[in-house]
Amino acid sequence: MQKQITEANLRLLIDSLLLKGQRVVGPRQSGTMVLYEPLASASDLVTDELPRRSIKEAFFPVCEDLLEYRKEGQQIELKDIDPARFPETVLFGVRPCDAAAVPVLDAVFSWDYKDQFFLARRAKTTIIGLACTTADDACFCTAVGLSPNDPKGSDLLLTPMVGGGFLVESQSEKGEVFFSTWQDRFSEPDGTQTQALATPALQPLDLKKIKAWLDDHFEDRAWDSIAVRCVGCGACAFVCPACHCFDIVDEGSEKAGKRRKFWDACGFSKFTNHASGHNPRDLQPKRYRNRIMHKFKYYDDKFGQTLCTGCGRCIRVCPVGIDIAGVLEEIEKK
């Protein structure tokens, strides 16, 4: 279904949601950067800047409690964290490269054991995407098979129209429900043209060809030159919408505390370190190789999907200027 909405009505809609007590998350100024965070009013919404971190934290926070424990004598009392407590949430202004990563992550959090910390939030969240009309040098969604108005992962997708307002397309049942709940705010499309979409510079990559090379080149001297600059800071993984590695850590004393899940990164030197001191990925090129392999081979082998949406954040934050798109181009040429 297609409808349209004026900028003023969109803001009214957000304020109405907030008045109803609905949790609304969108890009907003947070300290020195723009992040996806709960909005206090529609005026908080920032629509002209890609948030520093991705939307994955709406489902998979930087850190979250898994349980609480308290010791009484020799007994331990456990307090469960019920994933069902997560509030209904509407995500506004999610960029297509972020929204597209959410169904990709569904695969790992739902295969076999169901991680309800991710899945319960997922079930209670409506994602309203916003198509991009500008791209910067790091954007490469089009190179990995997506586009600036890709509907993947969005329940509703907003596309800016010429002269203001947005064309709105529903992409899922959640989107349809949203339309019918808030029908007064939307109107029928009047034929106004949408604005020209962003045009990321990088040409589409042949991901099949890249994967075919990865299939046969676990051992290759190219990894040394590709990863020679990597300092293992992990920033790329933390800003990535698809990286999902985590650690489980107890915080507190033997008497009382919490067990929590934290983002982790395969670039860290201790990530795979055994208690014996043996480390299967003992050198940085091996760790960087795992990053590329996981995104463009292993995840594909396991779930038939690519663990990268071309958002370009890892390129923007890398302190030593490693360009993953450039790495892929280099592999494609081999």
Binding site: Y113, D115, F218
Partner: protein
Amino acid sequence: MCDRNANIYLPYLATVEEVIDETPDVRTLRLVFQDEQLRENFSFRAGQFAEYSAFGAGESTFCIASSPTRKGYIECCFRAVGRVTESLRRLEVGDTMGVRGPYGNSFPIEQFYGKNLLFVTGGIALPPLRTLIWNCLDLRDKFGDITIVYGARTEADLVYKRELAEWQERSDVTLVKTVDPGGNGPEWDGKVGFVPTVLDEVAPSAENTIALVCGPPIMIKFTLPVLEKLGFGDEAIYTTLENRMKCGLGKCGRCNVGNVYVCKDGPVFTAKQVKAMPLEY
């Protein structure tokens, strides 16, 4: 209210029933689940692992070292080398700890019926095979000859010393124990030499035999060629890999060897499967 379907990270609570010092730094804990129903119903297969927690320190991954044929308790065995294992070692009889599991695949024991079994292991790697050894000894008439080749750096580093003595006494088990050169005391009644060398010397027959190997990477590296020389095929050799894990559930992204998730696809693999993996374990 604890719902383990909703929260897959929630451990069961277990009481430490017995503490056994295997070596100066290796300890066995015998655990009894506090939930009576679970104590009766907890079932696992030899080869599976669990996440054991010392609350306040975190979780560590070890195999379940006791046999599934021994009901009412489970055992884990670990060397105290880090934050969690040091905390686990501080637990006393009656203390409470956490257990998540059982996870991973297991030894296909039914496929071993009617065959001879050759266990080859070193040091702290005996516990992952000890579960299977007792499982097989408790079903003794289902198997042919059972041979155990076990080595450690020194006499003091041998774990399960009382069980080694028991196996040595049994007429239906052949135990070949060895220590590295220099690791033997004046009373030592076993062999002296590295496991692969001793295995080569003992030269057990490969005919109708399954080899079960677990040890440090260096031991595995030198043991596989010896087994090959003895005539063992890649699919007659099983091992259990022990990569670092956190979740044990196929999510946290840590234990993979290439595209193989040790926690889900393993930890038990045939030599054929291991040879197909990149060198990342």
